[in-house]
Amino acid sequence: MTMSPDVPFRETWSRPPFIKRAWLRWTLYGGALLYLALAIGSIEVNWTRVWDGLDRGVRFIEGFLVPDFTSRWEDILVGMEESLTMTVTSTVVGVLISIPIGIGAARNIAPLPVYAVCRAIVALSRSFQEIIVAILFVAMFGFGPLAGFMTLSFATIGFLAKLLAEDIEDIDESQAEAIRATGAGWWQIVTYAIQPQVMPRLVGLSLYRLDINFRESSVIGIVGAGGIGATLNTAMDRYEYDSAAAILIIIILIVMAAEYLSGFVRKWVQ
């Protein structure tokens, strides 16, 4: 073990820089700084409005500390009922529709034309966020939870079909091959080789989506698709911050409960 003599022994060590090439490093840093300066410079803030608004902020925090559940209880109940039913129905329908689409979007079991169509459906559903879909569905089906239900079902398809298709593509091929070797048809391969492998994940993902659908259902009401979001929007418009705080607290509690429950069920399934 000899050290080459031209490399001096270093007493100290410093970390290598994040990006090796110095010019690239400084260009990136400079570019980032320039962008930040431009971006922050282009924000127009009406500071007097912010100052006036702080008063409202204080009232809102007070509302959170002393939420008012009673005076709008009827409205909250209706909104909650709509949100919850919308969540359940849209998840069930969305899952049912996304199973065939997910199978169709898996390259290893679907023929190319079916694959292309199913992937297109998934891409279409994933590229528009719920709120935009909700605007269109409200225009088509009128105000109310039905439009919300359609929106959430549509969004569920993109989410679940994509993940299901990826799961099917990732399955253990040897099991499928073993079933295929027995002379099983396509349908039999799906039920005996693929379904048992992806079922636990599918249940887990459906529960996760139930959770997401509830969160989303609290938002799409803002554009008229029913649910607790509409109630919240009304409360904000009336400057009833204590009622709004009560609604938010209920949403947080339900989301927490749903997350806890779905975690529990997922552990039990797997």
Partner: protein, 250 residues
């Protein structure tokens, strides 16, 4: 037993369906295909000349997402370290508070945050930035604290054995291990934030959504088409960038 479960699920579904649709006016629903056709015919041809007016909102949207993500980082990093079991100063008192911050931030959608903040600090880009930041704290902090909890303890021990102080242990043993995860999470959230900031304007928080709301209010469907297309392109672009960056990091 399993069949009973399925039966219960179906019964529950039917019950929910009935409760949900009790106030539905079916005349509007049966009318939907013709409505859809009507809207579809109004949406085309798109009004391309509207694009120049959209460039400034597009810039605002980018800024809301980017600055919102940066602001969220500043707040999420301490929260994540306080929430991780192996770095929190107190498992019993501080960790639950950090977890509560994470849960509250995650349960409330950025659009609702925007609704609140527009009421408090007034309409505009600033409300959008703060809304995005508040929503992202929970997301970033949750993924980050999970990454911190999964670090290799032997590296921490090795650095501690050299006599390093607490801060030095953080700097040389903990941070290098979570840096890739951190960068990945940040870019991932930035991508989601671009997506969300395109619609924040619906409640008055600036960006493309503001133009969308204006166009919807006057039923200018050809403009709505242009905005939808621009949103789609922006979202695909950000997804592409985030996939590239994550690929380069991991």
């Amino acid at each position: 037993m399993l069949w009973l479960g399925w039966l219960a699920l179906i019964a529950f579904f039917v019950f929910c369906w009935q409760v949900m649709t009790q106030n539905t006016i079916w005349a509007f629903v049966s009318d939907a295909p013709s409505q859809a056709g009507d809207i579809g015919s109004r949406m085309f041809p798109p009004r391309w000349s509207y694009i120049p007016q959209l460039l400034e909102p597009l810039w605002d949207t980018m800024n809301i997402a980017t600055l919102g993500t940066l602001l969220a980082l500043f707040m999420a990093i301490p929260v994540a370290f306080l929430a991780a079991r192996n770095t929190t100063p107190s498992v019993r008192f501080i960790r639950p508070i950090a977890l509560l911050i994470i849960v509250s931030s995650r349960s409330i959608n950025s659009l609702i945050w925007a609704l609140l903040l527009v009421a408090i600090i007034g309409p505009g880009v600033l409300a959008g930035i703060v809304a995005i930041a508040f929503r992202s704290i929970g997301f970033i902090a949750k993924l980050l604290y999970e990454a911190i909890e999964e670090i290799d303890a032997s590296q921490v021990e090795a650095v501690a054995a050299t006599g390093a102080t607490k801060a030095q242990i953080m700097d040389y043993a903990v941070v290098p291990q979570i840096l890739p995860a951190f960068a990945g999470i940040t870019v991932f959230r930035w991508d989601i934030n671009i997506r969300e900031s395109t619609v924040l304007g619906l409640v008055g928080a600036g960006g493309l959504g503001l133009r969308l709301q204006e166009s919807l209010n006057v039923l200018a469907w050809p403009q709505v088409t242009v905005i939808f297309m621009l949103i789609l392109i922006t979202v695909l672009f950000s997804e592409w960038i985030s996939a590239k960056v994550r690929h380069a990091i991991i």
